[in-house]
Amino acid sequence: MSKLTEIRWHGRGGQGAKTASLLLADAAFNTGQYVQGFPEYGPERMGAPITAYNRISKTPIRVHSNIYEPDYVVVVDETLLATIDVTAGLKETGGIIINTPKSPAEIKPLLSGYKGKIYTIDARQISETALGKNFPNTPMLGAIVKVSGIMEIEQFIEDMQASFNHKFATKPQVIEGNMKALSMAIEEVQSDEK
């Protein structure tokens, strides 16, 4: 693993892409790494495209610009593929993860010739099964951790359990669902690797 991993999130306002980037920063922080988690701010509103970013590194991070050549891209809403060039600058040594019921082979033609790895995950279906509602960010978080290898899966699961226990102390009924959504995502993320 190179010393700096850069991730770009694409979502729509209200879907939790910003929250997911902050949760990922938290999880990586808890494994002793240096992190940045930040959204790109502008005139946000529900449903409009938004971008968020993560840098995760073994050494202190000084740069304070957006990310133009990410190692990984996470697309929380597949309808963005029609309007946003989600693979812009994406390194071919890295990969893209898309929330869709489709397979990587079905998605490939929509990614303007991107030659890196393509992963898909039906985060909506997982979320609805595990949580009874469409909150795609928890499964997407599980998928990016699995795909990027920025931390050990077991440590990540342990950590998220503690984090959810804390975050949902007043709503313990959603802890189990979120944990289930994470583990289903880690299981079910599909790759186009032969």
């Binding site: 959204p39 202190p60 991070i61 000084r62 304070h64 610009s65 133009y68």
Partner: protein, 393 residues
């Protein structure tokens, strides 16, 4: 014992405020500083502080309430951005001239016209002549460290001036990054109690605050304010030394990075300094002797020390994240170039206006500035000194 955490710049400021537990905190929300009073109001509601939290109907009233409470003898903080600072403008001068050491967290945001919520320094640069100490911060860690130190600098008996601690809106205020916090008790001990010599609630020694100042005295009062600002430079270094003793983190009037043997250098403020450091490392690996000077104290402006640090450099680019519409360059450029006037040999100095309204600055943008400086050194021709970085024309 330091506490390893990850916080946004706004959270870092709110926690510094909580650890100090001021007497009064009046505030009016404005993006991107809103989170600071928002987090602080939770600390009040949870009983984690016993601060009097005053909600007001405008920033003019927020600063007025700060003035009233600080004059009464109460340690007072506030936070604002952009148009909020502009609306305080009249009262900023009253706070400074009344010698009230209020500490303000300024989360830098462009001033409206056209409306924009993102980072630049037009707000705090607009207030540079108001008599406030100004301290700038590259990241969340510096915002936290600077805020704690600012309280102590402002309240020093040889200073007694208000201070604003600035950081870049969204870029650092809303970015979660690693940070080392100090334990609550250590912060409280470091800052100490606020015990002004004169204050309104002192019934034994009555005073008037803010009366009319006649022609016979106004000039002398302004000179006293100026003396206090001169003293602030020395006090800032004393406080930084004390802070280093408890944290190991070293602060000065400014920071230099690989400047000692540099042929070309940038002078820069806030978050872009971090981006520039990465660019410098890449250029150094390619054999280029490049460095930077990052402003920490802008008010007072450490002109002699800056000139001494930069005098050996062949060409300098002064980076302004604010327009001053002088048609001759930005505010930092004017000050740095003036500081260099007394050097026996002047480096070539040019100005770049950059990043206005949150325009992103990449390492490649910074590298292009060093390339321009190389051209100046090689050709001996400075060319236009008033330049824009990355503008579409």
């Amino acid at each position: 014992m330091s506490i390893r955490d990850r916080l946004s710049g706004n959270e870092a400021i709110a926690i510094a405020m909580k650890q100090i537990n001021p007497d009064v905190l009046p505030a009016f929300p404005i993006t991107p500083s809103t989170e600071i009073p928002q987090y602080f109001s939770q600390y009040v509601a949870n009983g984690e502080v016993d601060t009097e939290f005053v909600t007001v109907e405008s920033e003019h009233s927020a600063m007025s309430a700060c003035i009233g409470s600080e004059a009464a003898g109460a340690r007072t903080f506030t936070a604002t951005s952009s148009a909020g600072l502009a609306l305080m403008f009249e009262m900023l001068y009253v706070a400074a001239s009344s010698r009230l050491p209020i500490t303000l967290a300024c989360v830098n945001r462009a001033l409206t016209g056209p409306i924009n919520i993102n980072a630049d320094h037009s707000d705090s640069m607009g207030a540079r002549d108001s008599g406030w100490i100004q301290i700038y911060s590259e990241n969340n860690q510096e915002a936290y460290d600077n805020f704690i130190q600012a309280v102590k600098i402002a309240e020093h008996k040889d200073v007694m001036l208000p201070a604003m601690v600035c950081q870049d809106g969204f870029i650092t205020s809303h970015a979660v990054e690693n940070i080392e916090l100090i334990e609550d008790a250590a912060v409280k001990t470091f800052v100490g109690d606020y015990s002004p010599e004169d204050y309104l609630l002192n019934e034994k020694d009555k005073l008037a605050v803010g009366p009319y100042d006649t022609v016979s005295f106004y000039l002398e009062h302004k000179r006293q304010q100026a003396e206090a600002m001169i003293n602030a430079k020395r006090v800032a270094l004393e406080v930084a030394a004390e802070y280093e003793a408890i944290t190991g983190r070293k602060y000065g009037l400014f920071e230099t990075y690989k400047l000692e043997d540099a042929d070309t250098a940038l002078v820069i403020i806030n978050s872009t300094a971090g981006t520039a450091k990465d660019a410098i490392d890449a250029l150094r690996n390619a054999g280029k002797k490049v460095g930077l000077l990052k402003i920490r104290l802008f008010r007072p402006f450490p002109k002699d020390e800056i000139a001494e640090a930069l005098k050996h450099v062949k060409a300098i680019a002064v980076m302004d994240r604010a327009e001053s519409f002088s048609a001759a360059g930005g505010p930092l450029f004017a000050e740095v170039r003036s500081a260099m006037y007394d050097c026996a040999e002047h480096p070539a100095i040019v100005n770049y206006i950059y990043g206005l309204g949150g325009r992103d600055v990449r390492t490649t943008d910074i590298e292009s500035v060093y390339t321009d400086l190389d051209t100046i050194v090689e050709s001996g021709n400075i060319g236009e000194t008033y330049r824009y970085l990355g503008v579409r024309e």
